[in-house]
Amino acid sequence: MIKTTLDIARTSTGKSLRTEEMVVNMGPQHPSTHGVLRLEVVLDGEIVVDVIPHIGYLHRCFEKHCEHMTSYQQVIPYVDRMDYVAAMTNEMAYVVAAEKLLKIEVPERVHYIRIIMAELQRIASHLIAIGTFGIDMGAFTPFLYYFRDREKILDLFEMTCGARLLYNYMWIGGLSHDLPPQFVEKAKQFCVDFKKTMKEVNDLLNYNEIFIKRTANVGVLPKDLAINYACSGPMLRASGVDFDLRRDDPYTLYNKFEWNVIVGKGEVGVVGDVWNRNMVRQNEMWESVRIIEQALATLPEGDVKKAIPKRIRPTPGDAYGRVEGPRGELGFYIVAEDSVTPFRIKARAPAFVNLSVINEISKGAMLADLVAIIGSIDIVLGEVDR
């Protein structure tokens, strides 16, 4: 039971003071809903009494489209558009599922390049997450510092596959291009530059006292609730669950590298609050940089197109492949029948699942905290609505 000002007024005066709660529509057009999310917020003054999320404004029939493709390969451009800020990991999840379905083994170099790309993409996605979270908190400047560095990642991607945002780079069984000649050098340079920016933004935003006051102890998601809601990614780890698919359900060669799973420790607040979610992202970027540096140093030679099948026609059956995306567990459930067209593809979007917990953690918070909570969940509406 949340104690609202109404309750306080009742208990303190003993009289029934009639006040009305205000229902506010936050979204679909609102600066801090990160897209076209609509929240029906019941407010008692500044205090949130209830939140009813309404999604589906960006529903682009991804799953229906997939059933009308003429090949499994054609799904990849659509997968890119699901989570448009982390298209590489989407592709990775899809190709992992499809390779599981087709029982394809890919060469080692492909694994390495995929890991480099996925980790770069994780950094790029976390940069947006932290940057926009800063905007939600009123700090505009860190956002642009992070975008500056994200551009460098996008340049690397553009150099590799020709596109900046929607790559169509990872193919079932391989990659569309091998790495360009200067890639390794430039990626190493990026890693060096990026560490400096991360330190600066830590000073400017993450350890800023106002920021800590705004985010610590806000929107606390307890451990058991996080698991019951099947939250994943930074959201789950910030609640103190030491679980990362890259380590615990390895889908590619992640166990070859040395890195740590970042778990929320409650440095300034309690475990599972908004600050921890943000900080898990921030620290994950350090780990991603470590993985990238190791992978770049030990990149094996090989042909990246060797295992690409000419024609994809899986035997009937189904497969569920999942990867650790920037937002959490991104899974694709593919049902195949004897055809070149996928029979059914279900995308288990992490943001979709993570968002469903919002009602639970934002009751009793203030309106400004609600903004912080939405920002900390790091939703991408393209993925929520598919």
Partner: protein, 158 residues
Amino acid sequence: MTAQEIHDIIKAQFSDAVLEVKIEGARDPFIKILPEKIKDVAQFVRDHAQMKFDYLMCLSGVDYKGKLGVVYHLYSLTHGHKIVLKVEVSTDTPNVPSVESIWKSANWHEREAFDLFGIHFEGHSDLRRILLPDDWEGHPLRKDYEVPEFYNGMKVPY
């Protein structure tokens, strides 16, 4: 725990509810459950000390042309094993007990399956359309779905 052991435990508890099992040769081993029993089985596998399937990865509706199915991908954060449960219901009476009270993450997944497949989850607290508008007719991911010509009086391929 292997899928075979998980199956054996479930089979021992619910001998009549296990309809089919595929472990060898399947990409993801699955157990097909009688639809009416799915909630009991779900409760059982979540609370059983050896299984502890506390994490519902994914819940998908599938239209098997004439039959509707629901697929539950379960994972145990404690033990690190997984299993797939499947149920199949007829298209005419697509009633499946809701597992929302067991895994809260099923809430939105079930709403989505209801929205796109018309599978009715009995006991769901808030079974509304989630992705499509509230006034949408039909369930688009069914294989026999025909794209309507008009939506609210507007011609659809404009």
